[in-house]
Amino acid sequence: MSKKMIKRFSPVVRVTHWMYAISFIILAITGYMLFGDKLDWMAPMFGGIEGAMIAHRVAAVFLIASIVISLLMRPKEMLSWIKDSFSFTKADIGFLKTFPHKFLGIKKEIPPQGFYNGGEKINSLIQIFAGAILITTGIVMWFRDYFSESLLVLAIPLHGLFFAVAVAGAIGHIYLALLNPISNEAIGAMTTGKVSEKYMIENHGQWYEDVYKASQKK
């Protein structure tokens, strides 16, 4: 098999992805300090929980900025990602059926996947929905003087609920991209922006087809 590398993500998308990722982790850690007490030992790193609350707001600004920057600078790439995430195909369902095996690191034949596979789409949907709710409720909680009290008491539990959902999704995402031996080549797509052709054929057959056909037409 050739060692040909295929471009997957543009530099802007990669940088904003890591901006999002770092902000997200800081938000999750500082947020958990109010949600539970198992991470309170990290509080001194932020100057106490009071400082963690400030770090939480700073990270929130960076997270929102990462979304805005990527949408403004690479609208095509971002919109096709959103469009893909919302169009669930048979191949995606086929992927989800084999997902338990993939999760445990067992290689299995999967139906040819598009640019994003079924699992990535689920993860994207979790982040899009949870992110929208977290940002909205977060703004209500930050600027509480401008919102009614009944909205505020609703925002607090919603923020907590979707925090848990988003973080659980992120834990799965980080594991699959970083630690799982059969899928961790995906990390290359977010660092160098490229994946090998072999990985492309094995994991994104439909995408390979699309690219191949497109180049044939030329």
Binding site: L34, F35, G36, D37, G48, I49, E50, M53, F103, L104, G105, I106, R144, E149, S150, L152, V153, L154, I156, P157, G160, L161, F163, A164, V165, V167, A168, I171, G172, Y175, L179, N180, P181, I182
Partner: protein, 273 residues
């Protein structure tokens, strides 16, 4: 310890505001000059440095003008919403019924503020702490009465066990009804009984008190459903990925080994040893 309470008899209060001063004095809170409120009332509301104050109510009734004075302070509810809402265990209900703050745990997040039906918690933005009436916890746990009750001349603020105060309220109600036939007792049944039992000359809404104080339903949803569910989801995802990680490493290792055996590389290495 038995639950303690204060009886605040609005029909007896003369608005001398001795309690306001005594509270500042005992709790070492600085005086604050308020803006003109349009009435004789000293300030608009409680503040981080003003844990109690007298609110003035001027009412035109068919029988004539009525002027009432209500001492506004923490009710030390039987079922305190603030304690449940606090995400950092900075509030607790003491055995003697006082809802007390644990200063070092408080980070001034303000979650207690919308969850108090009486608008009592105030956030000191500079100190990043919530401040409110402590029921003079230091005094009452040493057998003394709260500063406000001690200083009250017309015995409009009376301190004692909750049962005593509830019984006294019945006596006072009879006296109050002689002057104000619509008088009621407020705080006996509300939120599992408030730590402040009021004698009000008329319905609570005329004195900025909720007629039927309740806690936001989202508070229960948050603390009893979202919280355990969230912790479960987070724990489960960490355990699941951890186990999957170990399992997948083993699989990868086995695959590597068998590939080597197929190549025959493994045996060669052994020979070289």
């Amino acid at each position: 310890m038995t639950r303690m309470a204060r009886l605040i008899d609005i029909t007896r209060c003369t608005a001398c505001r001795g309690c306001q001063v005594a509270c500042k004095n005992w709790n070492q809170l600085d005086g604050e000059i308020g803006e003109f409120t349009g009435t004789y009332q000293s300030h608009i509301d409680n503040s981080p440095g003003r844990w109690t104050m007298i609110k003035f109510y001027e009412q035109k009734k068919p029988t004539g003008l009525e002027w009432h004075f209500r001492k506004n302070c923490c009710m030390h509810c039987g079922d305190p919403g603030c304690v449940k809402a606090c995400p950092n265990n900075a509030l607790k209900k003491a055995d003697n019924g006082a809802v007390i703050r644990i200063e070092e745990n408080c980070i001034g997040c303000g979650y207690c503020v919308p969850h108090c039906p009486f608008g009592i918690p105030k956030i000191d933005e500079q100190a990043e702490k919530m401040k409110k009436c402590s029921f003079c916890y230091d005094r009452i746990s040493n057998g003394m009465q709260p500063a406000c009750a001690k200083t009250c001349v017309p015995r409009a603020i009376v301190y004692g066990t909750w049962d005593e105060m509830a019984a006294l309220a019945e006596e006072r109600l009879v006296q109050a009804k002689e002057h104000y036939p619509n008088s009621i007792i407020y705080g006996k049944d509300e939120l599992d009984g408030l730590g402040v039992i009021y004698i009000l000359p008329d319905s609570p809404d005329q004195f900025d008190l909720p007629v039927n104080p309740t806690l936001a339903p989202t508070l229960g949803l948050w603390k009893d459903v979202v919280h355990p569910f969230g912790n479960f989801v987070l724990g489960a995802s960490i355990v699941a990925t951890g186990l999957a990680f170990l399992f997948s490493r083993r699989k990868a290792f086995e695959a590597k080994e068998s590939a080597k055996l197929e190549e025959g590389g493994y045996h060669d290495e052994q020979k070289n040893d």
